[in-house]
Symmetry: D2
Subunit: 468 residues, 4 copies
Amino acid sequence: MSQSSTDSFASVHSDTSDDESSPRDKLQKSTKGPSDFCIKNISQADFGRKEIEMAGREMPALMNLRKRAGGEKPLAGAKVVGCTHITAQTAVLIETLVALGAQCRWAACNIFSTQNAVAAALVKAGISVFAWRGESEDEFWWCIDHCVGTETWQPNMILDDGGDLTDWIYKKYPELFKNLKGVVEESITGVYRLYQLSKAGRLSVPAMNVNDSVTKQKFDNLYFCKESVLEGLKRTTDIMFGGKQVVVCGYGEVGKGCCAALKALGAIVYVTEVDPICALQACMDGFRVIKLSEIVRHIDMVITCTGNKNVVMREHLDKMKNGCIVCNMGHSSSEIDLVKTHVVCAYLKWVHVRPRVDHVIWPDGKRIVLLAEVRILCSSNEVQVMKLRCENLRVCIFSDEYVASLHLPIFDAHLTELSDDQAKYMGISKHGPFKPNYYRQVNFSLSRRQTLTHILTFNVSNPFCFLL
Amino acid sequence: MSQSSTDSFASVHSDTSDDESSPRDKLQKSTKGPSDFCIKNISQADFGRKEIEMAGREMPALMNLRKRAGGEKPLAGAKVVGCTHITAQTAVLIETLVALGAQCRWAACNIFSTQNAVAAALVKAGISVFAWRGESEDEFWWCIDHCVGTETWQPNMILDDGGDLTDWIYKKYPELFKNLKGVVEESITGVYRLYQLSKAGRLSVPAMNVNDSVTKQKFDNLYFCKESVLEGLKRTTDIMFGGKQVVVCGYGEVGKGCCAALKALGAIVYVTEVDPICALQACMDGFRVIKLSEIVRHIDMVITCTGNKNVVMREHLDKMKNGCIVCNMGHSSSEIDLVKTHVVCAYLKWVHVRPRVDHVIWPDGKRIVLLAEVRILCSSNEVQVMKLRCENLRVCIFSDEYVASLHLPIFDAHLTELSDDQAKYMGISKHGPFKPNYYRQVNFSLSRRQTLTHILTFNVSNPFCFLL
Amino acid sequence: MSQSSTDSFASVHSDTSDDESSPRDKLQKSTKGPSDFCIKNISQADFGRKEIEMAGREMPALMNLRKRAGGEKPLAGAKVVGCTHITAQTAVLIETLVALGAQCRWAACNIFSTQNAVAAALVKAGISVFAWRGESEDEFWWCIDHCVGTETWQPNMILDDGGDLTDWIYKKYPELFKNLKGVVEESITGVYRLYQLSKAGRLSVPAMNVNDSVTKQKFDNLYFCKESVLEGLKRTTDIMFGGKQVVVCGYGEVGKGCCAALKALGAIVYVTEVDPICALQACMDGFRVIKLSEIVRHIDMVITCTGNKNVVMREHLDKMKNGCIVCNMGHSSSEIDLVKTHVVCAYLKWVHVRPRVDHVIWPDGKRIVLLAEVRILCSSNEVQVMKLRCENLRVCIFSDEYVASLHLPIFDAHLTELSDDQAKYMGISKHGPFKPNYYRQVNFSLSRRQTLTHILTFNVSNPFCFLL
Amino acid sequence: MSQSSTDSFASVHSDTSDDESSPRDKLQKSTKGPSDFCIKNISQADFGRKEIEMAGREMPALMNLRKRAGGEKPLAGAKVVGCTHITAQTAVLIETLVALGAQCRWAACNIFSTQNAVAAALVKAGISVFAWRGESEDEFWWCIDHCVGTETWQPNMILDDGGDLTDWIYKKYPELFKNLKGVVEESITGVYRLYQLSKAGRLSVPAMNVNDSVTKQKFDNLYFCKESVLEGLKRTTDIMFGGKQVVVCGYGEVGKGCCAALKALGAIVYVTEVDPICALQACMDGFRVIKLSEIVRHIDMVITCTGNKNVVMREHLDKMKNGCIVCNMGHSSSEIDLVKTHVVCAYLKWVHVRPRVDHVIWPDGKRIVLLAEVRILCSSNEVQVMKLRCENLRVCIFSDEYVASLHLPIFDAHLTELSDDQAKYMGISKHGPFKPNYYRQVNFSLSRRQTLTHILTFNVSNPFCFLL
């Protein structure tokens, strides 16, 4: 089981259903949905539908996509098996695929994150879902196995988050790979597994890494972090930013977003970097580039965004002043080395003071404030993270330029159209793509510097090519 | 003769030397320099040396490079023939190459732009220069021809700005190409020529396009434009930016820099774009994306940065309000269509009111203010443009990361070093390169979407590989 | 009963104490506090103490003040009777006054806002408190009456929020006014009452309006709003600001703060103003100044900060597009005219969708999103508002410059000291005040343009003069 | 003679008129102007007229004022004698006064700053001017004396810059004070003189200090400095701001403007302050507040804006690193203590390297770059300073709100009008004034903390009251 299948353990606590029986053992019946599904409680469908509708109002790009397709079914023929968090936001994506003609079956990538009511609404809408909140490990794999297909329905595309579904198919139903047009993977873990396959010469289908897409890099990382870092901090700490001294570790897109937001609100921001190009950008953008050890005694907050590990060490924590806040906006929770801190628990006290807020207390009374257990402080509610991932999944199926164009009506933005003359002068088509290939290929490289062997490219005129 | 060899015609006017004889006809003698050179007046060398020293103080990255090399000669063996503007800034570059062990011969790429005193100082320092201000066309080619080499000295690298030198060698001394390690070209014109050769399969050596380097794209375009657009406008117009409505056409790096600077000073900025990704970035950065025709009646200024042609048309000029300012920060002067405006000169009056400022006057008295004859308003003085180009030439020879690291001491920026453990976790070397190849390859693509067939890559551990 | 005594009705709902008896009817006994008090439950004191300690960590200026006073008792002799919200933050203020030598008695200005545990902790610390959550109106006045004093203890200063305490004393114990050194009032309502007294010639003691202090105007309004508007919006709406079109009505300090924050996060901000000076500032700061009716069809959000009424009218709501957000950052909830909207409820539907979020739905399905029932969206939690008011109360007692100097250590800011020579050159004392009187007198003017007849001034060398 | 009458000595050098005779000795004849004047050369009038027209295009508020007055002559009856710099910008002001009905006579406040062609154009337009570039001291006073009036024309208002005219009238024609409606003074020196008179009880007429007007404080100081500091630095130094470490001494309006602009362009800005309120504002705005001595070794630039003296001392200069730039944006040139630096000239070398740029060179080769001889670096050309002063003079005659409203059309800004209901609610008139008196009285206080005894207030409905 991959990490993503267990990492929301805490969130299950808020689920207070009394029904202790496993959905596997119950009769699954829907008045008008598929006969082939397994969820907690079909009677919650109406509530789930409202949640999906509310989510849809906040995901206008997908709604625009449905409109733009009109009655046409550009995805007719696509058979998608998916394994992701099952939330209202994912449901908007799934139903968009269906609206465009795809057939979908879905399982959960995480035993705790399924919104049962949303699953019920999807089933009622005719989609075979196998998922409920609080699956056991055995149930988790049972759901995935049943989701993969039936004798009469075999998938030609995988949407995966964590790699469990792909791995299951690879191992148990390798023959399905013959029909696959591609695999889309969101998580770093999953991408790493695909890369191992690819390196071993056993990845016979195109695969895409959502995480490194242009849209993800340039929009989600930069703009989303810019907007969410302030909220994440405010919600957990009540800090006022004006005049506070903050170190941001790492000046990639996430770091750039954090720095811009904090500076805009009046914080004094320092940057640490290992890469001279990023360091120079930080300088030019007006940030002092220093080593953490040089400034650590004076700061009010440190935010890690490097993607690396052990960026903040126990020795740094020892030097921080009372009340210093430590949090992480990077991918992994390993950026802050808590192992050494935990180990010496006889020396330090660890107090959970509020949801998402812990204090580590030194013998002299000094308190360091840890936010979100140094997991990503991306947002205060999981919903928004889900929504974000969902946006990324879109990217896999459509070209970045097409996705961007879907968002423009939200901003009432009016694109200028090239004249024939101008297009010829620029050596490009009037309707794009406007970026050269090398720019768009950024999409598909793996993080940690590796590249998948199989890369697909798309163009605006046929954004649906991947599935067709 | 390429465009760059004539485009500074005006600047010659300030040269008031009385000596009308051609340097070709004079005895060229230097007490301690080479015997092989041709310049205007060796006696100006001391004055030129001061100019070079002053320029050096403002180019700390090159000075750092000399220091960092210590006594070593990493460029020993390199024989560079160059053809660029000959200014104090270029001289700092040339002498850095020499300090690192290279041998250099140099000619001017422009008949008017040579600073005679600087040429004299270079000669006195032992470099064979063939250039003076006010060359005739015949003299221009004579200088290039004499610069190429001698029987005992043949170049193994070309640094060209405009392509005239490369073309001359290609046609007259094709055998030299066998020894060439590479061609570095700065101008769009020159790159286009190389591309034609490459397409025809006749470019047998590696060639690089400085103009699309990462450093150029990410630093010069973005940051330089951000800093210089305000100055360019202030120096020509006395406008106050606060509250002024400005349209920036194009949201590439140049446009992003202009928009950021203008917004920071309180202007209300609108953006026009053809590319949905750039348009979406403009939205997220807080700019209204509109078509020029929608807003043209209300604006105080329009700045073109598209790289395309005919972005501002006569019909737009007709609709602008009295006093509207029109200028160009893009590569070419074709962004604003003045042809149709000029043609109807019986209808419109054209008045040159100040250096770099023209008024076009409509019959009803309306005046449109054209800056810099709609050439690039990059900076008010040519020196800075030269300096900029010079910085770019560096990029061709060293890796971007190496160049960036040379700049960091200027900002007293302290780079963090990866631990062995962290480097391993990231899958990269402790000392870089930190960016994947696809990122750095952006360097070498041609503008207008074409790609050179021959591309070199470098790494920090051997930044001098190109020449060795 | 003033408005402030009832306006938190909703907040009582979260109080789930089972004990239904009135504290008035119970024996009030504290092991070591005063014998003279009336609260809900003394046994909650330890929990309340923890709350006060946590609040104290976030109010460093008051903590600095205690330290700076050292063991001295500059407020010895001061007898303060207070009537405010009783929260952990207020408790930090009260205990600071006590630490500096003052004697205090306190009642609640609101029948619902008392934190019972905090009241218990204050009593245990020796302060006579008469307050509990959920007082009846009769109990409210009973508490105030018992708080005023005893035969042996008579106040010489009033700290009031809403004017109920002052009014009660004025009517029932007018003889106490002889001993009063001053009245400090926070609320607009209370200030208005004082003004009426003053105009009628019946206000015989100095009075101060906290609300118009320099610190309040320049720090709380500007900086606090700048930081809190984003959070308030994020917490209620999940909106991303980048590219959103927002109208801010009013460009006073609150409006300036909102505009700066929204612009910094990438929103496109328009301003409406009635005052040409503020309008011109908005222009210079880069905001289009328009009338609401001109832009209302296109915007994503409108925020009112005028202090005026009926700024957003039903006719504006009718024209807004689906999903437009309407909220208020100004003092009063009358900025948005909901009366006419409510009245026609047969036509419009009103749906409460989340805490602090209502939808008004038009027959065609259009939804307008109202936040916080158009009360002030200052912050998502009441605590921060309390804290803010508490900070303001400080201002009444100490000079603005002294208060500012207390905050500087928080920012590790190092003040430069004038030399004797420089002080003489500037014509001021070395240790301030640095601002001329006219600047500081801004403190004491009433809002709505009236001025109190009795105004006090302070200086840094004796910040405690008011109470002594 | 006041300081302003000699402080532009350098500027006379650019005047290369051959005519050495004094205008006093020549026949002064104008075909259609007044008979009563004395200038250099009436034949330059046409050229001067063009200069005035160009200046007028950049001073739209005054042009709007002329339009708004329509054919009416609100200033009929006003007889203004003025003594200011005589430039194209001043001419626009003078001719506006005339257009509104005033009669004017004018002299120069500086022996070198008169633009002879402009003076000629004014004479041709019917205004009695007594001024030329390069007056001797004797001629200076002769001009003022002849300007004051004639037997049939006596002034009822003085517009002065430096106090020389007021002083002359006070001493030689004290009886004129009986008819005076007021004195408007721009310079600190002149205001100080008035204050001495006022303190001695001998100032019998209202007087106004332009320098402390709301418009000057809030617009000119803040916004003008924000825009001009960047240009001033760019024009003299070619510095790029990104990443540069800058200390701004003083965080008043000028300092705030400088800090905002530099931060916006990517500089890292530190602030020094003596006043805790301003220091706290700097903190909240995101600037580190330090003492100059703490950071002086590391900075790239220091800018003084305190209004105080000896802010940068020799000991600071000694510690600065090579190439550090020192300049002044404050009122006086005494902010940087050059006396001690000059005195030890045997030790330090002083080299004038470019207009407005000097280098001070230490024995070890370290160079400190002094800009504008540490006079105000407000703008690179004097014209803009003149324009600025001119804008301020307007303020004296009209209310700030009226002046602001004249500027709004420039920004196409649309003011919202209060409804009757709203005006009543706010307790103000529908058409203003919108600010309480205490706000507007800021106008008239003296700098250095003194207050004039005679203060006038205006209102929008009768902006011309002062002169009528």
